[in-house]
Chain length 99, copies 2
């Protein structure tokens, strides 16, 4: 299992539309190969900064299968217009679970 | 509930020592007021980049009570020497849980 973290800065005043777009896109992720969970977090210090956090079984499930799918194009259609800049995307693995 | 995300870049070659320090520090977080969970994630693209992810009941539990505690000083003693730069710390709130 790996975690995709996409930092997304949205254009001022588009937060509600962006959040609605992410909600509408949830089924695209839910049916994607190897996609285990998806949630959206919002910055407290910088409210226009969101983090889309998606758990995938493998890196390839995200980078190859999802990014190459029609559903990825649909995802971008739903939310891309609200991006203030290209998202910064990284992937992580669990190193330690404290408690 | 809010989430603290501390991006920590460690000095090359110190990853094992850093991870051991975080493991040793887990009880400091576990006994901290309002601390609900703590885990460590490691970057796949950039393995020297970690994210410490800590859930707190309130922002004040982290910023006032924990940062003002002796246990915070102890935390920094356990891991601070491995930091390649000051951590970048942000806080988020859940905006949407897709699935």
């Amino acid at each position: 299992m790996i975690t995709e973290i996409a930092e997304i800065l949205v254009k001022p005043g588009t937060d509600q539309q962006f959040e609605a777009g992410v909600a509408a896109a949830a089924p695209l992720f839910q049916r994607a190969r190897g996609c285990c969970s998806m949630r959206l977090e919002r910055g407290i210090e910088q409210p226009d900064s969101y983090r889309l956090v998606v758990e995938w079984e493998t890196l390839e499930d995200h980078e190859v299968h999802f990014r190459g799918s029609d559903d990825f194009q649909q995802w971008r259609k739903l939310v891309g217009e609200f991006f203030a800049a290209p998202p910064r995307v990284i992937h992580t693995r669990a190193a330690l679970t404290g408690f």
